[in-house]
Amino acid sequence: MHELSIVLSIVDAAEEQARKHGAAAVERIDLEIGALAGIEPDALAFAWEAGLPGTILANAERHIHYIPGRARCMDCGCQFDVQQLYEACPQCGNYFTDLLQGRELKIKSLTLTTAEEVIS
């Protein structure tokens, strides 16, 4: 259940940004998660519920952008979509492939609610 560690890492990063910007809350958070990053969407959703109460992300809208897996065959050079880490090249059946994308685990952006003091 490493998804809880992931969620708590997200909370850490969000709280640091909120402090830096003097924000009171996070309105929205955009995450980028690769299909082959080792994160189960259901487990993440569960951990999200468990890890967030009382944190700055408690009321944040969560937007997850899933990045599909994509690989390149080292033999024929063709590029193809992959659902697993062990897929053969559809052209030549080779397993000598390099993963191009799908391992992302990123906080893309945070929308912070800031209270600013303005002299009028």
């Binding site: 560690s5 969620v7 708590l8 890492s9 910007h21 053969a88 906080i107 209270a115 303005v118």
Partner: protein, 307 residues
């Protein structure tokens, strides 16, 4: 709250214990000293607490912009300034790895290991694959030749660390409580207690779990995944992440091959599909068969550090 598992229970807190260290009466902030009940050796516990959350530095590009209406009305004639509070919206384009904190501290560990010429190995496997038995045999074989240090990761007990301590190697036990993996901060704390000497070997035995530890870089020089022939030969494609991120795959318990249905070539083929850079060593920590190859691998890797 524990940053590993989210628990609130003190019994679930991460503890880091140097086995065999003389008990002292000094009590420092963050340290609690105690003697474990059945443990013949005095032990010292360290509770990393919340200070660990601020260990790493962050470097990222911030491109913030503010939305909202601001009215700057300055009346300079009478110098009458009023204050008004506006709620704005700031979008921070963070583009930051979720595990950045872990990764940065892992790099600090890695830098320390490099500077001290320490080969650090992260040993990962499912429970019961024979990691500790392999370590015992390895430590015995390298005794007098290469100085070895061990970090043991388990959810509970210091049983494994006591087994390692019996070989004479300095060992720190990390109990993760409910945590399912070691992270770079735990290793950082453990290394400070262990103080591995120059040009030594550091074995980090991760929590027995073939899933979660794969995501967490500890700063190791190489990752070694251990499977045994009593497990299924399709393990590499059942748990591909761990094989994807490992450098060496040890296939243990080959003395049991006649009694189990384990297709060695199939297992290797599956593992290569996941990671074609993976090296393999077949051995038995019980009979000693194949141990030479593993010891040679260790010495070669150590040698590469000096190159």
């Amino acid at each position: 709250m524990c940053s590993t598992c989210g628990c609130n229970q003190p019994s679930d807190a991460v503890t880091i214990t140097l086995i065999g260290e003389e008990q002292t009466t000094r009590e420092q902030q963050g340290f609690s000293l105690d003697m474990q009940g059945d443990d013949p050796q005095p032990t010292r516990h360290f509770h990393p607490g919340h200070g660990r959350r601020h260990a790493a530095h962050h470097h990222h590009h911030l491109h913030g912009h503010t939305h909202g209406h601001h009215h700057h009305l300055h009346s300079h004639d009478d110098h009458d300034h009023g204050h008004d509070h506006h709620h704005g919206k700031t979008v921070v384009e963070l583009e930051q790895d979720i595990l950045q904190k872990n990764n940065l501290l892992a790099e600090r560990n890695r830098g320390f290991f490099e500077a001290r010429n320490v080969l650090a190995l992260n040993l990962v496997s499912s429970p019961g694959s024979g990691k500790t038995s392999l370590l015992e045999r390895t430590l015995a074989a390298l005794k007098g030749e290469l100085e070895c240090f061990v970090i043991e990761g388990d959810q509970q007990t210091s049983n494994d660390a006591n087994r390692i301590a019996a070989t004479g190697a300095p060992v720190v036990q990390i109990n993760t409580g409910k945590g399912c993996h070691l992270d770079s901060d735990m290793v950082n704390q453990a290394v400070k207690k262990l103080r591995p000497s120059e040009s030594s070997l550091l074995f980090i035995e991760n929590v027995g779990n073939l899933v979660c530890p794969s995501l967490f870089d500890l700063g190791e020089g190489a990752r070694v995944v251990i499977i045994s022939v009593t497990e299924g030969d399709d393990k590499p494609i059942k748990y591909p992440d761990m094989f994807f991120s490992s450098d060496l795959c040890i296939i243990n318990k080959i003395d049991l091959l006649p009694y189990v249905q384990f297709d060695m070539e199939k297992a290797k083929d599956y593992a290569r599909r996941v990671n074609h850079h993976l090296e393999f060593i077949e051995l038995s920590a019980t009979s000693g068969q194949g141990m030479e190859q593993w010891l040679d691998w260790l010495k070669r890797k150590r040698g590469e550090m000096n190159a």
